[in-house]
């Protein structure tokens, strides 16, 4: 019994998807077809790395994902909201056009989640956001309160 618990704990520790730190950002590239538990594990891993490193932004590259269904979509959107609570902004980059159109037809939206066409754009977006946040701390706080109120 004890042994199997230990095994489970080890399994729960990492989603096997590398999370790289680059300056104040984290970079994640999903290169395999995620099943639900892996998506949830990745969410936990990202949040833990934000808290460990104090990262201000997260870039998630999903250009290799062939399918984004309601579960993966919801998990990504949730991760963005959770990261924001930890004071990190998350940008989803590289969604293939076929995935984007299917996602909308399925009836989903990325509600409030920042997206960018590729890693370069996503990086610029994060940098601009963080610069803006520093010079307009007050304004940003008001916007976020408004967003929270909308939900």
């Amino acid at each position: 019994m004890r042994k199997s618990n230990l095994k489970l704990n080890l399994k729960m520790e990492s989603s096997a998807i590398p999370i790289l730190k680059l300056k104040e950002f984290l970079i994640v590239s999903i290169q395999l077809d995620l099943h639900d538990k892996m998506a949830e594990q990745l969410q936990q891993d990202i949040l833990r790395r934000i808290s460990q490193t104090g990262a201000k932004g997260v870039l998630i590259d999903i250009s290799a994902l062939e399918t984004v269904d309601s579960f993966i979509g919801r998990t990504l959107a949730e991760t963005a909201r959770m990261a924001r609570i930890l004071d990190a902004e998350l940008v989803i980059v590289g969604m293939p056009p076929s995935v984007a159109s299917t996602f909308v037809e399925l009836g989903l939206s990325m509600g409030g989640v920042k997206t960018a066409i590729n890693l370069d754009e996503g990086y610029d977006m994060l940098e601009a956001y963080i610069k803006g946040q520093i010079s307009h701390t007050k304004l940003t706080a008001t916007e976020e309160e408004k967003e929270a109120g909308d939900e």
């Binding site: 099943h35 399918t67 399925l106 009836g107």
Partner: protein
């Protein structure tokens, strides 16, 4: 015809990969392949979430139609109210309620046969010769 048993979460990924591959081989374009694999993902997850286990059959040749037909069967609790289950946002599993109505939008045909307490059979089709 291919058959995928749904018993664990990774089987959902397997079902959608097999369906996508068969759709590609048949000549569907990338957007349709994505629609098909996404619909399969949603309905295979429903099997896992509601019935625990079931089967997915994928075929590309029936009734002289060119296209892909996927059948999802389970011996789960069945669907009490099909009209309600086809409404966006309705879910009894704590999910977003996009699976069934979403799959219907992504495919050309969706047919549900269900009996409360006995199980559910859902057939979806996408045609190449519309």
């Amino acid at each position: 015809m291919s058959k995928v048993q749904i018993k664990e979460e990774s089987d959902i990924v397997k079902a959608r990969s097999v369906a996508k591959e068969m759709a590609r081989d048949l000549g569907f374009g990338l957007v349709d392949q994505t629609r098909i694999s996404t619909a399969v993902s949603e309905l295979a997850r429903n099997i896992f979430a509601y019935a625990g286990e079931g089967e997915v059959y994928i075929e590309t040749d029936w009734d002289h139609r060119k296209g892909i037909r996927i059948t999802f069967t389970d011996q789960g609790p069945g669907i009490e109210d099909i009209d309600l289950a086809l409404q966006d946002g309705f879910s009894t599993a704590g999910s977003m309620g996009k699976g069934l109505p979403g799959a219907k939008r992504l495919m050309d045909r969706l047919n549900i046969q269900t009996k409360p307490g006995e199980g559910t059979r859902i057939i979806i089709e996408k045609w190449l010769d519309k």
